[in-house]
């Protein structure tokens, strides 16, 4: 294999660049790199899901080839619980995530340190100048980008009260930061050197929420170099593997008063929005949260701590309202199955995976049939009926999967589907928001071991088969996931 040394700095003995591209092939060619590979970091990253700070470490690992397991969901890691256990605190005294534990027992907290550890030399910058420049941009992200980005974005997510003055000031600071980046990227492809480095990874992750929530086309228009660089980065395979598809903001998100009120204790909510209290448990949970908040305030937190609290709230939001909290842990990871179902062949991959991992104690399978097929007229209206129901069940997505199919044609159709729920009961009764549609359906719990169940699951998930019990041809299907 031929690799030519191509470095701007002729004093560099080897091309960091080439190594970044292909650590494995390089290591085959040169024993020196092999020894580096053997020392490659391997371990577990504890975090809550979708944590941009954890992304930095995850992307670095994608580039370096470090073996990184991510523990973000039960049973491996439950945010708010696992990180308060004595075992966790003895390794990570702050109890914050992301936190990294190597397979060799080596522990690290602080996301930048973890990302640094999981990087290779190419990402860290292989000359003293380059590594110092990487550190410069990493610090820039933390001190210049994150404070105004949080001040602007958090209220739009409903996790912080809106303050017009603070938001306007933050916008100005974001403009200043973008101008600096735009100027720098005018003549450069990446922030340091000619290849992606930890500088790009860190700054991209720090700008992620801004680009997703508020940097609408008109706002980012004066900074074309920044957007070019950002879009290129997020579309590199290593970024994509961690971030998925990132959709740039179309319209600047504004403060979401309702969402904010929902997340606050009742007495803080504006009187207009106040609804009669219905669930004691819910209220109590909120009270606890309020008390925690007050503790924080009493101890006069540094601004950064306050932000972490907000992020924690963001991550914890679905959990505080989790109607399935009373159920024991399950071995069946629904998300895993959904990924298989979405990305791979249903009959050969997703279905075998489903039956192999399905946990009959933790989940149940239901057949639901629309009770009023005679009222179904145009098929597109029937489809809206299904998708509308899915939308109203939005918060159930984490704990359910369904394939609902419209059979027949205009004025001669029926709707039925196969639903997989967490627990042994119909999930709809657990939350009043979910009770709008389910009464229009007849529900029948299927015997997991029965042939009927196997056939129905197969046909409904694959959208093909005889559908013997229906008597009408398949028209179209909708997936709830």
């Amino acid at each position: 294999m031929h690799f030519e040394v191509l470095s701007r700095n002729t004093s560099t003995p080897c091309s960091d660049v080439a190594r970044a591209r292909s650590p494995i092939r390089q290591s085959c060619a040169q024993p020196f790199f092999l020894s580096l590979d053997l020392k490659m970091a391997a371990g577990t990253l504890y975090t809550y899901p979708e944590n941009w700070r954890a992304f930095k470490a995850q992307i670095a690992a994608q580039y370096s080839g470090a073996h990184l397991k991510v523990a973000s969901t039960p049973p491996a890691f439950t945010f708010g619980q696992t990180n308060r256990t004595p075992a966790f605190l003895s390794n990570f005294p702050l109890g914050k995530v992301p936190a990294f534990q190597g397979d060799d027992g080596f522990c690290l907290f602080e996301s930048n340190a973890i990302a640094h550890y999981l990087s290779n030399d190419a990402l860290r910058g292989s000359t003293p100048q380059a590594s110092a420049q990487v550190l410069q941009w990493v610090s820039f992200a933390d001190s210049e980008i994150i404070p105004p980005a949080s001040a602007w974005v958090f209220p739009t997510l409903g996790i912080m009260q809106y303050n017009k003055q603070a938001t306007e000031q933050a916008k100005e600071e974001v403009k200043r930061v973008l101008a600096v980046l735009n100027q720098h990227l005018n003549t450069r492809t990446f922030l340091v050197g000619e290849r992606v480095s930890l500088a790009d990874i860190t700054v991209v992750c720090s700008l992620l929420w801004l680009y997703k929530q508020v940097l609408e086309p008109a706002f980012r228009e004066p900074y074309p170099n920044v957007t070019r660089w950002f879009v290129t980065c997020i579309n590199q395979p290593q970024f994509k593997a961690v971030l998925g598809e990132v959709k740039l903001c179309d319209k600047m998100a504004q403060f979401d008063a309702r969402k904010f009120a929902e997340m606050q204790p009742k007495k803080d909510a504006p009187p207009k929005k106040e609804k009669g209290s219905k669930e004691g448990g819910k209220q109590q949970e909120k009270k606890e949260k309020k008390e925690k908040k007050e503790d924080k305030k009493a101890s006069a937190p540094a601004p950064e701590e306050e932000m972490d609290e907000c992020e924690a709230a963001l991550a914890a939001e679905p959990k505080t309202k989790d109607p399935f909290a009373h159920l024991p842990k399950s071995t069946f990871v629904l998300d895993e199955f959904k990924r298989k179902y979405s990305n791979e062949d249903t009959l050969t991959v997703a279905l075998p995976h489903f039956w192999e991992h399905f946990d009959r104690e933790g989940f149940s399978i239901w057949y639901g049939e629309y009770r009023f097929p005679d009222e179904l007229t145009m098929t597109f209206m029937s489809c809206n009926l299904i998708t509308g129901m899915f939308q109203r069940l939005d918060k159930l997505r984490k704990n359910a999967f369904a394939s609902v199919i419209l059979f027949g044609s205009n004025n001669d159709s029926s709707i039925s589907g196969i639903w997989v729920f967490r627990g042994q009961d119909l999930a709809f009764t657990l939350c009043e928001d979910w009770q709008i549609d389910y009464e229009s359906y007849n529900w029948r719990k299927l015997d997991v071991d029965s042939e009927e169940c196997k056939t129905m699951v197969k046909e409904y998930f694959a959208w093909e088969g005889e559908f013997k019990h229906v008597g009408k041809p398949f028209n179209q299907g909708k997936i709830f996931k």
């Binding site: 031929h2 690799f3 030519e4 470095s7 005018n186």
Partner: protein, 173 residues
């Protein structure tokens, strides 16, 4: 010229066994002699063949759209860029500069054969540009500098200096 280019491409692709080439006609169109099967004619045909031989299909584009844009620029390279008259260079640079304003690579978000061949093709133009001209076409210069530093690409061509900081700050704005 085209032959040295193909030999550089072979090296950058990690192909161990160099191929035998000859040229055809006044324009010196490259021809790849093959032991089994017919010979291949033309830069793009041969380059595409080499990429397939090296089993690097991603260099031809990973999506249908990216593949089409790669082909577009390969075609542009031979039909427009090669042998372009002096008076057209300005237009070409302006067009490319505009095209590259929001792009890092010629096609899609990853490095492809279009970058390699466009770089080989435009090198002779960039060599003759004054610093001021390079600054004027900042996006082309930035792309050019990135590609010439891309591992294994440059080979037979001299490294050109592209300035990071502006010398001529007034005008062109």
């Amino acid at each position: 010229m085209a032959l040295r280019e193909l030999s550089s491409l072979e090296k950058s692709l990690g192909l161990k066994k160099p191929n035998k080439y000859s040229t055809q006609g006044d324009k010196k169109v490259p021809v790849l002699q093959s032991n089994n099967g017919p010979s291949l004619t033309g830069l793009v045909t041969i380059a595409t063949h080499l990429v397939r031989e090296a089993n690097r299909p991603e260099l031809l584009g990973s999506t249908a759209e990216q593949r089409a844009v790669v082909q577009q620029w390969l075609e542009y390279r031979v039909t427009k860029l090669d042998n372009c008259p002096k008076e057209e260079i300005k237009t070409i640079l302006q067009d490319l500069n505009q095209y590259l304003e929001d792009k890092v690579y010629m096609a899609g978000d990853t490095f492809t054969l279009a970058d390699t061949l466009m770089y080989y093709g435009i090198h002779r133009i960039m060599v003759d540009l004054a610093v001021q001209e390079k600054e004027k076409h900042a996006n082309v210069s930035r792309w050019f500098d990135h590609v010439q530093h891309y591992p294994g690409v440059r080979h037979h061509l001299p490294l050109l200096v592209v300035l990071r900081n502006r010398l001529y700050t007034s005008g062109h704005h």
